[in-house]
């Protein structure tokens, strides 16, 4: 299992991309984002709260996300994040970059 912490630029940039991706299907609260990443990665990627929340707030400040308070599925008050137009654009750019980067890394690793 990989833990995503808030150290290192590559990982942090990756975390932001994952958060954007998690929110693509609709608004989620912070816990939901973490859960979705964990489940979708089949428990490989585990997002630490200490990295998640600063990232969420930073992205909100930068206008990639917007937040509103609403009721959760079990009827608690929760902060829901959703993508802005800016955020969707960023997600597109990031996934493109990620695709290039990972295939490049794969090439390198497969070289004999």
């Amino acid at each position: 299992m990989e833990r995503i912490t808030d150290t290192g630029d590559l990982i942090q940039g990756t975390l932001e991309m994952l958060v954007l991706k998690a929110l693509l299907r609709g608004p989620l609260h912070g816990y939901g984002v973490a859960e979705w990443i964990e489940q979708t990665s089949q428990q490989v990627l585990k997002v630490e709260e200490g990295a998640l929340y600063p990232a969420l707030h930073r992205m909100e400040l930068r206008g990639l996300l917007k937040a509103r308070w609403g009721a959760s599925e079990n009827n608690r008050r929760a902060k829901f994040y959703e993508l802005t137009a800016e955020g969707q654009k960023r997600l597109g750019a990031e996934s493109h970059r990620w695709a290039r980067l990972s295939s490049a890394v794969a090439f390198v690793m497969q070289a004999s």
Partner: protein, 901 residues
Amino acid sequence: MGQNLHEFALRIKALFLKRRMDHDMADELEFHQAMLKEKLMRQGLARADAHAEVRRRFGRPDRWHERLRELWQFRRLENLARDLSFSVRVLRKSPGFTIVAILTLALGVGANTTIFSVINGLLLRPLPVPASHQLVVIGTNDNSLRVNYSLSEPMFRGLERKRQVFSDVFAFNHSRLQIKRAGGTENVQGQIVSGNFFSALQTPPLLGRTLTPSDDVKGGNPAGFGVVITEGFWQRWFNRAPDVIGQKLEIDDTLFTVVGVMPKRFIGADPLDRPEMFIPLSTELVIHGTTRSLTAAGFHAWWLTVMARMKPEATVEQANADVAATSSTILHEMIPDADWVANREKLHFQFTAESGSTGFTYIRQYFSKPLLAVFAMCGGVLLLACLNLASLLMARGAARQKELATRLAMGAGRGRLVQQLLVESVLISVTGTIVGLASAPLVSQSLTRLLLSGQSQTHVDTALDPRVFAFAALVAIAASLLIGLIPALRATSSSLNEQMKHGQHTTLARGRQGILPHIMMSAEVALALILVVGAGLLASTVVRLYRSGTGFDPRGVVNLAFSMDQQPLKADALTQFYRHVGEGLSHQPGVKSVSFAFIIPFGHFQWDENASIPGGKEYDIYENSIAPAYFETMRIPLLDGRDFRWTDAGSSGLKIILNQTAARLLAPDRNPIGQTVIKHQGKKTVQYEVVGVVGDAKYESVRSPAPATAYLPMTQQDEDETGSYSAVVRTDGAAAPLVGAAHALAAQMLPELPMPEMTSMEEMVRDSMSAERMMAMLSIFFAFCALVVTAIGLYGTLAYATARRTSEIGIRMALGARRIQVARMVFLENATVAITGTVAGLVAALLASRALASFLYGISTRDPWVLAGSIITLAMIASAASLLPAIRAAGIQPMDAIRCE
């Protein structure tokens, strides 16, 4: 950019909704924890275990808050706010230091702003007309190297016709105009202006039209002589009547028609003049009559200020080259006297043009140099104030080393500490600047009053315009950096970490502090010495000027100037009139004696002619026309012969009285009484008999020695002279009622004569030294401030340093040092600073005082008394400032001092 804006808006929101933000963050985390706990319990953990696991994963909640909150903050801004409130607290904790700091700086900034605003008003501010940079002033120059800014009417007309690079060439001169009103006349300040004056200055009239070249022709506009009045005069005289255009005004017995009204902001081309009306140049001949007219005097009378507006593409250099090139042509065309022209050409006569964007005023020639000298002194005071504050802050920084070192050790960045210390000095300098600026207008008004006390008609606009504010801001910024940066950098330098280890028992502390504080304090002492020496020299100049005497006794003498210009009395009738007024005045209470004089000493008029005795050399002799008893009234000693009498009429032979210098010059080898003095007037030769010799009396100014002077009796004046004499009255009673009395007496014979104008002879003497007096007063003030500031600095730095050595001194005493030894040790610390500063200051003062040489009178720049006196004054002040900390150090109780560690 949009993103930054979005971020900025959110941060601002966070700044204001801080409490809600905190609340929301807590809620968000709590929700996450609750969800996590539920999940763990679903996975089978016990409630307590789940709780512990969540606690373990999240850690301390306050650290979370801190991290998230930091994201939302304006970090710099909030740090700054925190520094600011901290600085305010620190400064309020030591009110003495704060008040001294603010006041010294307010003094420095205030004085500089004041002097700058006067310089601005006098020298820098452009005329309030469109595109003032296109204006030039035209002068003439020959071998004498000094440009002369007065031109004769024919020269001006020649220039006006040529133009070339100019769109307009215009001339003007101030003139006192008499306006007839019901029951008398009133004197009004006016200007005589040429036809293109208004078109060159490009200011549209409020009502009617301006004067044009068609008004400035011989005989005036066919519709009559035109006059343009100002808004102020319109208000005062016509009560803003809308039908003022076309109204008649009787100016100097000539009928003028009001053709236009100029708005208030229009002041003409002399920035210090506030004329109330403008009349065409061509009418000067009419109002003054051929005998008095300067126009009629042609190329002999140099009286017009000539300026021009350049075409937009032209430069001042082009204009200068242009007028220089036409000089010869204009001379030949306009001046009928071929000999005179040839003579001028031999001297390389040339017209010159220089920038006239600030207009032209004669006052500048007299005051620009003294003002710049005062400005330099002012800068010295400011520098001194800054050095002083920097030294004090440095000493205080040293006293705060423990606090700062602790903060450094706790992880505060050096930058943050420097910022905090800078905030403190900026706070001081901003407050000081504001206090200084607030007091500047008041001070500059009184300064200009002092400066221009002799010129009642001048107005220096010292208003705080953007230029003054920019200057003050610049001064404030420079001051804060100077004050704050050095001490802040020093106080936080890394080696100081060790200070904390040493605590207070740092015997090496002073040594380690280095030489910089010593240099700064020495520089301060040196600056103070320079200022004190300057003040001493200037003050002795004024004293010497007073003591040099005028040759007469001005105390208790008043002058009453009659303007007889438009009166019908001539020759004998005029003499009778003055005799009658004099008789009447001599019976007024307190009046001791009364006489009359054509020219009042220091009254800015001069009359000189060449004279000789038969067979002797010709000399330039100053002259004056006076009534009997003039010497008695002025207390000028009659050395030989007799005074004039009312019966000395021309018929019994022309009489003359010489002063000592003139007598020695004209008749060096014989008794002057009874000699004949010859003057050539045109082709005539006039002979005078010397009837008396009197003591020398100064004529033009207190600075220049009494010239060779000849006095003529008013009883033998020429038929066509105007006869505007001043009554010279010696009285020990009140002077004010004399004006009314003189007017009443005069009205018996001349009912329409305007009120005579009164000046006191003492004022005339004082005003003739106004530049020297201003410099002396200001320099004494600055020197006094410098001494006070230096004393505070010497005391303050020593007091801080001694306070830091308390335990060391305690140990010394415990080891047997006597109190007197301790006191001497502390005292000597400042003595070295004072001595270095004095030596440096003395050298600098000797060099700098050369710049003052041209302002001094009767004293050398190396006057030993002034130098010695300055050093003694400074030494005494420095000793007094050092004694207090020394005494305090001697009073330290060894046990207390050591215990407090």
